[in-house]
Symmetry: D2
Subunit: 306 residues, 4 copies
């Protein structure tokens, strides 16, 4: 698997909880099959929207174990090994590989204060310790460090990194990274996490996307990717426009911030669509209720998903 | 121990590493005894400067186990249970209590985006799950959330929190918290982490301090606390002034940011003073070398510590 | 005046507007006399709470002209020359001096992005162009640049700056500045804008304060300063405690942020106390109404000011 | 002019200074003609890179007067009326209109703290007071407020705003704004300031761009716009790729931040190309020298501009 290049649509998989906060395996299986049947090119487990930081190590292992079993080699399995600093991340990586992950996704260190020197050393340590393709996960909104495109390109050229999952919101940096990666012979697979402007990222040269919204509507993202591969930019844009209407599940609710409003919207939509058995959130986050659920139902109806 | 109020000087203990990144137990024992002999009132292990986020769970357990053994009930042992979200923090807390911690110190959740609703629910969940005094650790520079004084006071009055360790850098908020806590009958023990302006925090009404610099010079902080207890504010200020001269170990080095410059200065000073056998830092941070070491040596000499 | 050192209580004067947004001169005169009669040591016009950035140049001139006339040399008149970059600030300074200002108060440049090199050059240009004592106004919440204490001390020692008005919220930096200033022979007059923790700043060595709340209750701040001069720290703290109860005019209102809630509270209090004829705010800010006014009335009553 | 829709390439014009900081009119004339000859669709004076916040009111008037004279109705003249709060911005607008501006560009209020209520009221006040098309200038890096797309669309539909110049770096928000504007009948002209990813903004539906880099290479941006109008996205991307190579004038220098490195690069390039007579910067910013100039010369040579 480490030889094959990961590209195309690789959704970050949302994780269903039972009302008493156990992993809801039947719902998980339905969601995974829903996306694979729609034609996605890979699946990313234990990402930021995959409850990674809410899950104990035991739960993380359970998620990976079930994921590997359900996916059953139909698509590559990427696993987030999100933890604070190097030694802890390496441990997460070793466990994920032992359970069958095909590739690993790691952020910059967080919590302790550092700088670019520590970030670069961190990825080098991960590469030395973990025998698998490593994607750098650029998500400053969570880790409060932006990964510089020059460093990423250098680590790609040296074989330290296999790719980048860009959720930085910095399309300028991503554009520079695409151009530099091209000059270096394309060592990195560059995936955008910008589900709302995947079209622009494809035009910039992205090798694929990691759109959370593909949990709800994977077919649209698959069509968009195929259109991009064919150079049919009018269709790319039109598909993005349609998906963005669906994305209003993020802003029709009230009183919720961050994870509660974002992943909460995914879970509520999947619950209303019958893929999940509940919209339970991990502690300390509360599940959506009442008018917020109805607001999401209306968006799904308007988009033809109910 | 849960009945006794923690107050006075409670340094956050710096953790020594051997050159191959193992816990250096003899150095650890020297440092703990150095501070207890100087008269500190408690010790806080696995705080931000105690390598907590750099340590695997196994290493965290080792640190707590050795700390409890070495301290041997001479002073209360507080343990940081720093992790990303509720379930993971509860797990850290259970392990720390099983190993003999007297009190636990927990931050707001971090990495995932949330708001005050989630923060309050988080501390309530910790209190339900963990049978020990819990201190809220207010450290927005690391977790990017400021704990509101109204929420803290309310959780104190309800018995959810036993105290606050304030490293927020917001002396206004701390002052309001002190006054509100007093009105409520002083349910919270309020400790400041502001090692440079402990005097102002004492004047505001703090019950004690958690100064990292007390690893290097505990006697000064002990004298300051005794002067504060006696209402001798001229001495309080004079002791702070002297300690602040020592604190220039933070700004005489070059090319280092964050943890490398801060905890790195502590480790280098303790190494130069013969308390630590090396100034090794946890990966991915590099130890201080060359001119930076000499700059710290000079500060220690100027302050009479060498 | 440039020989005399400005120290003690120097309130930033709130500016009253008539309902049709003209300067309300009678209210202005009442407020100025109220504070001078209470014993303040100076007055700071056109500060952040003095509508400086809301005022056209013509209005600024009117404020300074009336201020100089009403104060009539009873106390020093400091004038804020707040504008974006060097040439504009110099112009503001020349006009203020022509109208009779005793000292000028200038921030770091803002809007355009720069760094410490530009900030230092900026203050040097102001000093060359303006024949008056210049106070650096450290207010990162408005200008998004923190003035470094090493730079400030250096500019003091070189005679470029006469003092600092610190509204940075960074008590550590202020403490270092106080100690460094002392070592250099005290070239700078260091005034704190932290109205809630003036006591801590006095203990740190501040030469005075610039408390907005002194518009409402100047006598308390005057008593606090006298106690600090006498080394009576118990009284200093007790006066601060009382003033902080009054400061809840900032947090009893709802639905207001920033200037609307802060300066709006001052104006509403002064209106309720009969010193201002209205609580009109400058465009685009709305005046407080209804329950917010009643909430402030209650705080004033509880504090014995109504 | 207020009937005609501004669209296409509208560069923000860089302003040349003589070595003694006067407006260098001959250089200014050369630059304006260089861009008009290249086929740009409008010119934006006194933008963030047009020294607006560095210029006294007198200088601003001189810039607008000369700009109107030189442009001589060949393209529309947009003028930035950047100032802190409403009354000051209105004054800037009145003067610009009196001197012949065709449209005005205004940011959110800055310096004083406010919120969305004040921002919306601010634009309504501007619209009432100024008889001209008003573009909202979304530049949070300078004013520290992001303009919400729902508010912008609403103000467009109500006729308060004529367009938006988006320099927010938030391509998600821009995408939502484009879609909402379309649903409302396209009341707003939406121009992107993202010179590095103009291609993505065009794909999103932008009506044009305001690229600073077009001062140096206007023809590339003109070709890109024509390709976008023709739906030839491969050419759009290819032109952007080429322009991005030129954009490395921003990152080949060392020791410069913000305005000094950004606008400094433009001025140095224009000087090397013979369009400007010097690369003088406004106080307190220093002009580029030595190796930085040579680094920019090399980029220009590599891109065939020297």
């Amino acid at each position: 698997m480490s030889d094959c290049k990961i590209r195309g649509v690789v959704p970050p998989v949302v994780v269903p909880d039972t009302p008493d906060h156990e992993l809801d395996v039947p719902s998980f299986e339905r969601l995974i099959n829903y996306m694979i049947d729609a034609g996605v090119d890979g699946l990313f487990f234990l990402g930021s929207s995959g409850e990674v930081v809410f899950s104990t190590d035991e739960r993380r292992d359970q998620v990976v174990r079930e994921a590997v079993r359900i996916v059953d080699h139909r698509v590559p399995v990427l696993v987030g090994i999100i933890d604070t600093e190097t030694e802890r991340v390496i441990e997460q990586g070793k466990r994920a590989l032992a359970l069958g992950a095909d590739a690993l996704v790691a952020t910059a260190p967080f919590y302790a204060l550092g700088g670019p020197v520590e970030v670069e050393e961190h990825f080098r340590c991960l590469h030395e310790a973990l025998d698998a393709p490593i994607f750098a996960y650029d998500i400053p909104v969570c880790v409060h460090t932006k990964l510089g495109w020059k460093m990423l390109a250098k680590l790609g050229a040296e074989g330290v990194l296999a790719g980048v999952k860009d959720s930085s919101g910095d399309d300028i940096s991503f554009r520079y990274l695409c151009q530099e990666n091209e000059k270096l012979g394309h060592p990195l697979q560059l995936l955008t996490g910008h589900e709302i402007v995947v079209d622009g990222a494809y035009l910039s040269g992205a090798d694929g996307s990691v759109p959370g919204l593909a949990n709800v509507e994977p077919k649209g993202y698959v069509r968009m990717w195929k259109a991009a591969e064919a150079g049919d930019w009018a269709t790319v844009k039109a598909e993005q426009d349609k998906l963005n209407e669906l994305s209003h599940i993020f802003d029709v609710t009230t009183g919720l911030t961050g994870y509660a409003g974002g992943v909460g919207a995914f879970k509520t939509a999947l619950w209303l669509m019958g893929i999940f058995d509940s919209n339970t959130m991990p502690r300390p986050v509360k599940a959506m209720e009442g008018e917020n659920v109805e607001a999401i139902r209306k968006v799904l109806q308007d988009c033809g998903l109910l």
